[in-house]
C-alpha cells in the first residue's frame, strides 16, 4: 500500500525553484497495475524515485504499508528498499563487468544471503524469464530485451512487493518491448504492485489504472475496466 499525502519535491536550481512534484495526493493499493504518463519534465521520474525511497520529499508524507518513511535514516531506507522495492530503468543499469547471473545475484549479495540460497533463487528467476542459457553472458553479449529481462530478474529476486519501472521499454523495439511488458504483467498477475512510467500510449493502455501528470501535479487518475490484462 502506497500513500502520498500532500507531497512536494522542489529543487533549487540556481535562483530558480523547480517544483518537480507539487502537492501530490496518491494512493495505490497492493497488486495494482498503474501507468504514469505526462510530458517530459512533468515529474514522473521524481515521483517514482520518491516511491522507491531513492529520494525524499521536500514536504508532505509518504506511507508505505502504513508506515511513515520520512523519519527513516539512510540505512533504514536502504533496508526497506532492498526488501520491498524493485526498480527497472530505461537504460537497464546492469553492471557491465558482471554476468547476467551475477547481476541477478547482486541484491542478495548486498543483503548477505548465503551462496547456495542465492544460486537457487537466481537460477529460478532467470529460468522464469527464459534466460537460463544466457546466465553466464555479460550485458554486452545480450540484446536489449534480454538485458531488460535480466534487470527484471534482478529487481524481482528479493521478492519485493512493489515494482517500479521507469520507461522500461523506452530503449527497446516493439517485439522485445512486448516481451518485457509480458514479463512485468506476469509478475503483476501474481500480486506485485506494478508502476510503469511511459511515453507510449499503447504501453500505458495495458495498465488498469492511468495516472497523468503535468508540471508536478496529477491531472488525471482513472481506471479503465475492460482493458486487456
Amino acid at each position: 500500500m502506497i500513500e502520498l499525502k500532500d507531497l512536494s519535491r522542489r529543487f533549487q536550481v540556481g535562483e530558480q525553484l523547480v517544483k518537480a512534484l507539487d502537492a501530490v495526493d496518491l494512493a495505490i493499493g497492493d497488486g495494482e497495475y498503474v501507468s504514469i504518463m505526462g510530458p517530459s519534465g512533468s515529474g514522473k521520474s521524481t515521483l517514482l524515485n520518491i516511491i522507491g525511497l531513492l529520494d525524499r520529499p521536500t514536504s508532505g508524507e509518504y506511507l508505505l504499508d502504513g508506515r511513515g518513511t520520512t523519519s527513516l535514516d539512510d540505512d533504514e531506507l536502504a533496508h526497506v528498499r532492498a526488501r520491498k522495492i524493485g526498480f527497472i530503468f530505461q537504460s537497464f543499469h546492469l553492471v557491465p563487468r558482471l554476468t547476467a547471473f551475477e547481476n541477478v545475484e547482486l541484491p542478495m549479495v548486498l543483503a548477505g544471503t548465503a551462496p547456495a540460497e542465492r544460486r537457487r533463487r537466481a537460477d529460478a528467476m532467470l529460468a522464469s524469464l527464459n534466460l537460463t542459457d544466457r546466465a553466464e553472458h555479460r550485458p554486452d553479449q545480450l540484446s536489449g530485451g534480454q538485458r531488460q529481462r535480466v534487470a527484471i530478474a534482478r529487481a524481482m529476486v528479493m521478492e519485493p512487493t512493489v515494482l517500479l519501472a521507469d520507461e522500461p521499454t523506452g530503449n527497446l523495439d516493439h517485439v522485445s518491448g512486448a516481451d518485457v511488458l509480458a514479463a512485468l504483467e506476469g509478475l503483476n498477475s501474481r500480486g506485485i504492485t506494478l508502476l510503469v512510467v511511459t511515453h507510449d500510449d499503447e504501453v500505458a493502455a495495458r495498465a488498469r489504472r492511468h495516472v497523468r501528470m503535468r508540471d508536478g501535479r496529477i491531472v488525471a487518475d482513472g481506471s479503465s475496466p475492460g482493458q486487456p490484462p
Binding site: 524515485n49 540505512d75 536502504a78 532492498a82 543499469h93 541484491p107 549479495v109 548486498l110 528479493m158
Partner: protein, 403 residues
Amino acid sequence: MRFGDLLHLATESLVRARLRSIMMRLAMAIGVAAVVVLTSLGEGARRYVTGEFQALGTELLIVLPGRSETTGVQPGMFAGETPRDLTLDDARSLLRIPGVARIAPLVIGSVPVAAGELTREVPVVGSNSDFLAVRNLSMAQGSFLPPGELDRDLAVCVLGSKVRSELFPRGPAVGATVRIGDRRFRVIGVLADTGRAIGFDLQELVIIPVSSAQQLFNTQSLFRIMIQATSREAMPRVREAVRAMLKERHQGEEDVTVITQDAVLATFNRIFTALTLTLAGIASISLAVAGILIMNVMLVAVSQRTAEVGLMKALGARGRQITAIFLTEAVLLSIVGALGGLVIGFVADAIVSRFYPTLPLGPPPWAVVLAVLIAVASGVVFGLLPARRAARLDPVVALAGRR
C-alpha cells in the same frame, strides 16, 4: 554483505579495469621494490662489513698510540706524531697480562720492492709470527715468519698473493730474493687469497719481521699492537690491564688508545643500520606517492562508476557497503602491487648479487614487513576519500548520470 562476496566484487572490477589498476599496481610495486632494494643494499653493506670484522676475530684488541676520545677507528696514521711512541718493549710487556693469547706488533711503511727488473711500490708491514693467527690468515705457499724474539732482525719476507704475481709473473717466488728498500730479503712464503679486504689489502703487501721493518724505516715506534685475548669474556679485563700496563710504562701518562673489535663492530652496525633506515625512509616516500596515485585513480573510478553506485543504492546497498566495496578495491590493488614489488625487489637483488657475489644482499625482514604494511595502509588511507565520496553520492543523481 559477506566478506568473500566483497572480495569477489572488488577483484571483478579490478580485472575489468586493466589499465587503471595496472598503473596503480605498478606505482605501488615500484615503491615496495625500492624499499626492498635500497634496504638490501644498506643491510648488505652492514652484513659485509660485519662479516669482514668477524673474520678478523672478535677477540681482537688494538692498541694505537695517542689518546683518542672516540672509540671508532682512528688511524693515527704516522707513528711519531704522538707524544710517546709504542715500542717493542711495550709490546713484549703485554704478553705478561693474563688473558692475552697472542700479540702482533705492527710497523708499516711504503717502499719500493724489487725482484730482478720488476719494481713495485707496496706497503711493507713489519710484524711477528703471531700476525698470521691474529689476522686469521693462511698460507698459499711456504711458511710465515718464524717464531722467535721480537728484536731478531731476519732478512726474510712473506708476499701477498697479488705482489707475488706481479713480481714473479713466471716461476716460483718462494726461495727467491727481493730487494726491499736497500736491503735484500729471502721470500719464505706467499699468503693465501682470503678475499677479505678490511684494513689494508692483504694481497697487496709484503710482510717482514718487525725489527727488520724498524731498521728499514729507521724508527723505534710501532704503528699498532694487535692483541688476541683468550676469550671474548676476557676482553674487558684485558683491555683494562693493557691500559694500566701501558700507563705505568709511560710514566703515568695515558697516551694510548685501546679499541676492541666489538666496539668497532658496534659502531659500524650503528652506522649501517642508520644508513638502511635512511634508505628505507627515502623509499617510503615513493610509497606515499604511490598512495596519492591510488587516490587519484580511485577518484576517477568513482566518477566513472557513479551510475553503478546509484544502482547499488537502488538495490538496497547501504553507504557503508559502498565504502567497503571501493576500499576493498583500493586495498587489493595495493596488496597486489606490494607483492609485485616484492618480486621485483628480490629479482633485482638476485641480479645485483650475480654481479657482486661478495655482497650478502637481502633486505632485513622488518623492511619487507614495513613496506607491505605501508603499501596496504596507503591503500586504506588514500582509498578512503574516494570510497566515502562514492558512498555519499545521491542515488537519484547518480542513476541519472547527472553529476
